[in-house]
Symmetry: C2
Subunit: 288 residues, 2 copies
């Protein structure tokens, strides 16, 4: 749903009609298949539609579900695209080492939550930013972040980051861009990595904000790298090998907010943008 | 001399005195040594001083010269720090492939010249920017660039790059930052690499220019990476293996502007900043 904030989400509501349902990530059971990779009865996740029965012709981003001993809804988040985004960005792009200082913005999001927990499991020090006091508390008490702050309450993000990272930042997992990126650039350590998964703060602006602190990448030999998860789907089996055991051992926590019935979908979608959602928003269209 | 433009160069002149000579890259013959790695008679290059006889205590960036069948002055440029900067930035950071579209800013500089020639030898398409008509002609006719332009004469750098790179840019070797980086971001191809060796346009500004087009790194999964050559000196033998044969075969061209006598050093230094220098500026302090 990234990139569909504000104006765009209203457009989505207005365009909603049964002939062209909204497309999104979902979990389905195959009822019939002409594709050799999928057969009747298979459980799959990937890009589906907001409807009870769908004809899916774009099968490239459809994955067969092998591990069914975890909640199937997890494949819309933790074990699906957002989870793979966190994994690919943190491990493949961020190249973390034990003891690294890691900062995650929009840390309460489905991606940020997992980045923080993967970083902790690797022995990193992790601080996250979020947009409410409640989210900050959950990051610290439930997801095990070493620190968290509400960016809306900070006057000077540079000073905030200096407080949380007196030694500087090795990896900044950027979901927001803008002022937070500006402050992070001032606080990176030598050969630090800025992993760019999104720039949420910039999507609604008519003109993007200019980033003034880029010279710091020279002073400190920094790498800034943006990526899309689709380039890393070959790592999906390795991702499951890593994350599924962590889930079963209770070492990874995950929060979902499940709305029952497609009739409740518009309200649930709206909740994403008002900050009311208490975890990954899932719509339960139909049981098995 | 990077980072010492404008005000800084004046400071250097005023501070010049025999008790604290200017430090720079030079070629010397060892007349006495207490270091096991260097003996009397060895030729070395590295950080030396602007004087006839020097006591050098910082030996970490001092290299013994093995290939003496090329002009020794080359070790201040093409075969020294600027050459290694070009080599490390282009090959190690840029990860070039045959056929890549390569753009080099400040292409007439010692680093840029070599980046362009290495790119051509690899089978890339190369365009460079420079600050005068004469430099543009030399880039095209002497250094073999596929195209070159005088950035001072272009009204719209975005349109200029679109003209030279209708298919987009795979590698942008950035020596200048600012407007040129802004325009390059708009013209990068998917998974393009921006290798940042310097941001010459920003060193004299009181407040750095904000870069507005950073969102493009997300749209096109771009990597921006800054580096310093010191992190790559382990590749120096490999660099010599690559570049020395090219020099002997005449496949790499190199221009030097040699001022004879240390008394001519201030004028030669000034020439760097007025654009009068016709190639790598070298001061010949003393013959063997």
């Amino acid at each position: 749903m990234r990139g569909t904030k504000g104006k765009e989400v209203k457009r989505l509501f207005h365009s909603f009609n049964p002939d062209s349902p909204i497309v999104g990530y979902g979990v389905c059971k195959v009822v019939d298949s002409k594709h050799s990779g999928f057969k009747k009865g298979d459980l799959v996740w990937g890009v589906t539609k907001w409807e009870e029965y769908s004809v899916i012709t774009l099968t490239d981003s459809l994955f067969k579900i092998e591990h069914t001993d975890v909640p199937l809804s997890y494949y819309t988040g933790l074990l699906g695209m957002p989870g793979m985004t966190a994994y690919a960005g943190f491990y493949e792009v961020g190249a973390p080492k034990k003891g690294d200082y890691v900062f995650v913005s929009s840390a309460f999001g489905a991606v940020g939550q997992l980045v923080g927990q993967l970083a902790k499991l690797m022995g990193c020090y992790v601080v996250g930013s979020a947009g409410s006091k409640e989210k900050v508390e959950i990051l610290k008490n439930k997801f095990g972040f070493d620190g968290a702050f509400n960016y809306k309450e900070e006057q000077n993000l540079n000073a905030t980051l200096k407080r949380f990272f007196p030694e500087g930042i090795d990896i900044y997992f950027d979901n927001v861009g803008g002022d937070t990126l500006e402050a992070a650039l001032l606080n990176m350590r030598r050969r630090g990595r800025i992993v760019v998964a999104g720039m949420l703060s910039q999507y609604d602006l008519d003109e993007p904000q200019g980033i003034k602190n880029l010279m710091n990448i020279i002073f400190k030999q920094i790498k800034i790298e943006a990526f899309i998860v689709f380039d890393y789907y070959d790592k999906y089996p390795k991702f499951l090998e890593t994350v599924v055991p962590y889930i079963k051992e209770g070492k990874i926590t995950y929060m979902e907010d499940i709305a029952k019935g497609i009739e409740n979908a518009p309200e649930a979608l709206e909740a994403l943008f008002t900050g009311r959602s208490a975890g990954k928003q899932v719509i339960l269209v139909a049981h098995d």
